[in-house]
């Protein structure tokens, strides 16, 4: 039954969309092809991000391939795909949500719909199979346990006296989302970042804003008191830096959810294994691996998480006020973010 479903699906789709090659192969064909390809080279999918380490271990074991990754930003990944089109070295990359459509529009990604494509929430996937979020992150507060009056919301932060670490604003999807989350929590949104600017300007004026983003090394060194990062990063870093020293909460007055999508290199010489990477990431086994890395699997409501993975997720009620980023309007607003930040916030520091 499992074997025929993809074929039936592919035939149906082939009838409906004439130029659509994405699922013309069977799973067996893909696996056989992958074995011949022998290796997969990825960009921006390092071991310590969203548990890709464990994911790659499973993929290389399952399909008998070797794996190499090079970490870089989304823009660099697409630049590499484009520059190497006559001689591609990389097969697949992971980019921020905003870059999925960019890659598709520039002809740099290869579409592939996983066998369970229809189960993915429609806001998290592309109609043509060019991109889909395997997991989501929601902006969370990473809090050192020994500070006074640990915040539960953005509003709380203003009343505290601890330092807040937000860096890389303008460049990193995570930091930009942090600013947007503050805006959302304080009554604004993608088209109205002013509440966030006022919030951070106030913190800067109080000399409580640090321009360097939280990371494990700084956490261990006592440089971070409160950080604003993705929940999966916050939780994973907490584990490394000391589970008893750090807490993670989703701000109760609002937050934003976004994700990262795999992008298959349109020019790759190894399309089979590249497609299988996405397939595996969306399979139940793959989704559980994300969960074990604290990354909330996109299909979380539809798969049964084993107890240890389920325990790693933050309680669902914390996500009550979190909403997905509007990927259509965000990239344009994000462009103004840097200048607004410089004018309102950096000037206060």
């Amino acid at each position: 039954m499992q074997k025929f479903l993809p074929i039936a699906l592919a035939m149906a789709l082939a009838l409906v969309a004439p130029g659509f090659h994405a699922n013309a192969q069977t799973m067996d064909e893909l696996v056989a092809g992958a074995k011949k390809e022998g290796q997969v080279i990825s960009l921006g999918m390092p071991d310590d991000w969203a548990n890709w380490g464990e994911m790659w271990k499973a993929i290389t074991a399952k399909y008998g391939v070797t794996h190499t990754d090079t970490d870089m930003s989304s823009a660099e990944e697409l630049a590499k795909f484009e520059a190497e089109k006559s001689n591609p070295s990389a097969d697949i990359g992971e980019v921020g949500l905003e870059f999925g459509p960019i890659a598709a529009q520039k002809g740099l990604s290869m579409p592939y719909k996983t066998t369970n494509w229809d189960k993915i929430p429609s806001w998290a996937r592309d109609a043509d199979g060019q991109w889909a979020l395997g997991y989501t992150g929601t902006i969370a507060l990473l809090i050192r346990n020994d500070i006074k009056n640990p915040p539960k919301s953005f509003a709380d932060i203003l009343t505290g006296d601890y330092k807040v670490s937000v860096g890389e604003v303008g460049k990193a999807a995570q930091s930009n989302a942090a600013v947007l989350a503050a805006a959302v929590a304080l009554g604004g949104g993608e088209d109205n970042l002013q509440p966030a600017m006022d919030f951070f300007a106030k913190l800067a004026g109080q000399k409580r804003l640090l321009p360097v983003n939280a990371n494990v090394a700084l956490m261990e060194k006592g440089e971070v008191e409160v950080g604003i990062v993705w929940d999966f990063n916050a939780l994973a870093w907490r584990d490394i830096a000391g589970k008893d020293k750090w807490s993670v909460v989703i701000p109760s007055d609002g937050s934003v959810t976004s994700g990262y999508t795999t992008t298959i290199n349109a020019f790759t010489q190894r399309p089979n294994i590249a497609k299988l990477v996405r397939e595996f990431a969306f399979s139940e086994e793959g989704q559980i691996i994300f969960a074990k890395g604290y990354a909330r699997p996109i299909l979380i409501d539809q798969i049964k998480l084993p107890a240890d993975a389920a325990a790693k997720m933050l309680p669902a009620d914390q996500y009550a006020k979190a909403r997905p980023i509007n990927a259509a309007t965000w990239p344009d607003s994000a462009k103004t973010l840097t200048r607004m930040w410089q004018e309102s916030v950096a000037s206060q520091m």
Binding site: M72, S73, S74, A75, E76, L78, A79, V95, G96, E98, F99, I102, K163, V166, G167, E168, V169, G170, K171, A172, A173, Q174, S175, N176, L210, P211, V212, N213, A217, L218, K221, G222, E223, W330, P331, A334, K335, T338, R339, W341, Q342, E343, V345, A346, M349
Partner: protein, 282 residues
Amino acid sequence: MIQSASAGARLAAAIVAVPLLLLVLLFELLPLLAVLVNGFLHDGAFSFANHREILASAFQRNSFVNSVVLSLATSLIAVAASLPIGRALHTMPVRVQRIVMTYANFGANFTGFPIAFAFIILFGLSGSFTLLLAKAGLLGGFTIYSKTGLALVYCYFQIPLALMLVFPALDAITPDIEEASRLMGASRFSFWTRIVLPILLPSLVGSFVLLFANAMGTYATAFALAGGNANLVTIRIGELVAGDVFSDPNLADALATLLVVALAVPIAIERLIARRGDRDAQ
């Protein structure tokens, strides 16, 4: 320059220089040309639109001002510091000179995230020196996460670089010159301003230009220490070309082009001084 060199010798010299020129052409000039050309592309058409956008924006202009001020200041400090350190080093045995050069080489190349992290360990919120100074009441509001902090880190690698560049020039201040100066009753101040500086000026200016360019082009160190907060040209370029939310490589290339143009003034001044200095030496 050898005045009497034959045409044959000049030809041989030209041939000898070809490999370097070839590498410079293929791996420096061609990419630079690509950057220049790309900067002129806006929505697929050739125009000055990107450059105009940059020059029209107070925000972008500010990034140039910040970059220039930071680079100017740290390069001047570096050259100034290299003189006394270089002179002191010059009096020491060659064995010691080489050891110190080892460490200077190390310092000059200790850039990027590692040096930012090292300075955070020492001067961050919980930095060793921060805690000590705070206990002694001497901290005075200094933080490594500020413009001053960034300048401090820049000086860390600029000063040893300056030393490496300037030190070979100090051979020009021979013991005979020092002896003559002392015999003529010149004060230390006169010795420095009327003898040392004029002799060393072309070398100092040449070194300064390289230091200035080095600072202008610094990205990783500034980003690691100041995030997106530092409004420097290289940070703005990094956002546009290596970001995770949007990308505008053409605007980035236009910025890079203007950054190179910003070097034109120091280079022009250096060439003037070098030409005069080399002419005087003939």
